[in-house]
């Protein structure tokens, strides 16, 4: 992250990792301390490109590449004016054309291409569509408010749940302590034998546990986390049923065109292994057995013996 240094004081960024880089409308970065120093009077010129800037225009850099930050700023401003939604357009094609137009504008402004012409286009658009812009602004603010309300509700729900679990735990602790205390008291005062009292105590403790379990299970969820209430029938198109033929395993059939070869396991019993060089311990360590070589030799001897099968 500290691969970029402040272009002016260079060293300060490396030495002080908590130092932030600020970006301005021209796309060039300066660290906080340099901003303070240069713009002590409130306005000045950029160090690298000499454009007149104001101190208030500096924002903390969010992205590594200052060009991206610059584009983000420009985009915000452009979208304040070009705030139509897809519902405002009669066809998808027109909406896409509109979006492309917006992108062109952002691109031009970011890369300093035809800045004057683009700004004029923007002003013209603003004048023509003033009321639509206003309406959309209102809609946007309303949506944002709704979102915020939902977030708030969620947060409150979380808080409540946390409090409840805390309280539960407290109650459990208290109950357990009471139980222990009761046992001690009984041991002191009662006439019954100690083992009986201990057994009673254990029973009570078990009962408490089951009670707690039941209490926990009572809470049944009625609503999914996305907001859809449970048990609601969702109308979807039924999935098309695809009937396939059930797979049946057929074992592989290989024609060796020769007499049958005895199985590897049978070789010892049939006496083949007596006529093969026995495997030394070094060979067997790797998993080699004399049966393997014998089997291979016999397989090769019998394979293709009855050819041609015409």
């Amino acid at each position: 992250m500290d691969d970029q240094g402040c272009p002016r004081c260079k060293t300060t960024k490396y030495r002080n990792p908590s130092l932030k880089l600020m970006v301005n409308v021209c796309g060039h970065t300066l660290c906080e301390s340099c901003v303070e120093m240069l713009f002590v009077r409130g306005s000045g010129n950029c160090v690298q490109c000499d454009t007149p800037l104001r101190k208030s225009n500096f924002r903390v850099q969010l992205f590594e590449d200052p060009a991206v930050d610059k584009e983000v700023e420009i985009r915000k401003k452009v979208l304040k004016i070009y705030n139509k939604r897809d519902s405002d357009f009669p066809s998808l094609r027109e909406y896409n054309d509109y979006l492309e137009h917006v992108e062109d504008i952002v691109f031009n402004l970011t890369n300093n291409v035809d800045v004057e012409a683009t700004k004029q286009i923007m002003e013209q658009y603003q004048r023509e569509n003033r009321d639509i812009i206003q309406k959309n602004k209102v809609k946007l603010t309303r949506e944002q408010e709704e979102l915020e309300e939902l977030l708030l509700l969620e947060q409150q729900g979380n808080e409540q749940r946390r409090l409840e679990t805390l309280q539960e735990e407290q109650r459990q602790l208290v109950a357990k302590r009471k139980n222990k205390q009761a046992l001690l008291d009984e041991l002191e005062s009662s006439q019954l034998p100690a083992t009986l009292l201990l057994a009673q105590h254990k029973d009570r403790a078990a009962q408490l546990e089951t009670q707690l379990e039941r209490q926990r299970q009572v809470v049944k969820p009625t609503i999914f986390s996305t907001g859809i209430p449970m048990g609601q029938t969702v109308l979807l198109q039924p999935v098309a049923r695809v009937e396939e033929v059930l797979y049946r395993y057929q074992p592989l059939q290989i024609h060796t065109h020769g007499p049958a070869v005895p199985e590897l396991e049978q070789l010892g019993r049939l006496g083949y292994l007596n006529h093969v060089r026995a495997a030394s311990p070094q060979d067997m360590a790797g998993g080699y057995t004399s049966g393997l070589a014998c089997h291979r030799a016999v397989q090769d001897a019998f394979s293709g013996l009855f050819l041609p099968t015409r």
Binding site: N274, A297, D300, G304, L305, F306
Partner: protein
């Protein structure tokens, strides 16, 4: 295994006539190529005909076997067999006039070592050639040039099933099941000898290796005066299957005849054909080699400086990128 191998599917033919035809075709193809290339002073009689090619082929095959015999470290029999089979298959579809058999023979041996996992480094391999180091280097270069061509002409079918393991299998089986024969070990030597002679014939391209091995075993038994008919009928379960039995006996007879028919080439013929071959290669081979050399150099053996220059270029380019 042999029954589902590429050898059975693509490199086993019906009879010797098929093989003859293929070799004549390869010969004819080269002739047409030479005539159509329109070189001045080309005469039909300068080119080898199939019989002369056969003589040379046998000669170089013998040279290959001798080379493998004196190879250090000792080359296992399967590697020799594989190399021989590659040599044979290559010249089934190509003419000796187009690719010199000496290089192809070394390439076959080299490739066979690799395929059969008989680990020999390339310098060790050419160290076995009886020549000075410079000539060895040149030979190595040639081998590496022709290697890919060889693999291609083998149609990438590199696994070869030799009859040596089936023969071992038969000996084991005889010792286990065929107790009428007291000492099958005595058959080993003659059977081995039979197989060595069989590799110098076309049997590998006509019959399955197990059949060749069985022929070898039965042949050596009959030489020793033992009758092993009952082995076939009893142990192989062919008592009732007369048709398969007769077919097998027929194949074995054909194999035996082929092996018996083999004659080593006469020295004076070899010398005459060799002269012709050298002349042909000197005249016509010039157009093929340089092209291939250039193509190969583009791959690996490129001048080392180029690669270094490339790396430096790449480094500076990447540095420039980082700086922006």
């Amino acid at each position: 295994m042999y029954h589902n191998s590429s050898q059975r599917k693509y490199w086993t033919f019906e009879n010797e006539d098929c093989l003859e035809k293929l070799r004549c075709q390869a010969n004819q193809k080269f002739r047409d190529k030479i005539i159509s290339s329109g070189k001045v002073g080309v005469h039909e009689s300068l080119l080898l005909d199939p019989l002369e090619e056969d003589v040379l082929f046998k000669h170089y095959e013998k040279r290959l076997l001798d080379f493998c015999a004196v190879f250090k470290p000792a080359m296992p029999k399967s590697v020799v067999g594989t190399a021989n089979m590659y040599f044979r298959r290559f010249y089934l579809n190509n003419s000796l006039m187009e690719y010199h058999p000496r290089t192809i023979m070394l390439t076959c041996a080299y490739l066979a070592c690799k395929v059969d996992e008989f680990n020999v480094s390339s310098s060790q391999f050419v160290g076995n050639l009886q020549e000075n180091p410079a000539a060895q280097e040149k030979a190595l270069e040639q081998i590496l040039e022709y290697e890919l061509l060889l693999i291609q002409q083998l149609n990438f079918h590199l696994v070869v099933h030799n009859p040596y393991r089936p023969m071992e299998g038969f000996l084991i089986d005889l010792k286990t099941r065929y107790l009428a024969l007291e000492n099958p070990e005595m058959l080993r030597k003659t059977a081995d000898d039979f197989l060595n002679r069989a590799t110098m014939t076309d049997v590998g391209l006509l019959f399955s290796p197990s059949q060749i091995a069985l022929t070898a075993v039965l042949n050596s038994a009959s030489r020793a005066g033992l009758n092993m008919e009952s082995y076939l009928t009893e142990c192989m379960g062919l008592k009732d299957d007369k048709e398969t039995l007769s077919k097998m006996i027929d194949s074995m007879r054909r194999t035996k005849n082929l092996v018996k028919k083999y004659e080593p080439p006469k020295p004076e013929e070899v010398i005459a054909c060799k002269q012709k071959l050298e002349r042909i290669h000197a005249e016509f081979a010039l157009n093929t080699n340089p092209k291939r050399k250039r193509g190969y150099e583009d791959d690996d053996h490129v001048t080392k400086q180029h690669r270094v220059a490339e790396e430096v270029g790449v480094n500076s380019a990447s540095q420039a990128q980082c700086a922006t």
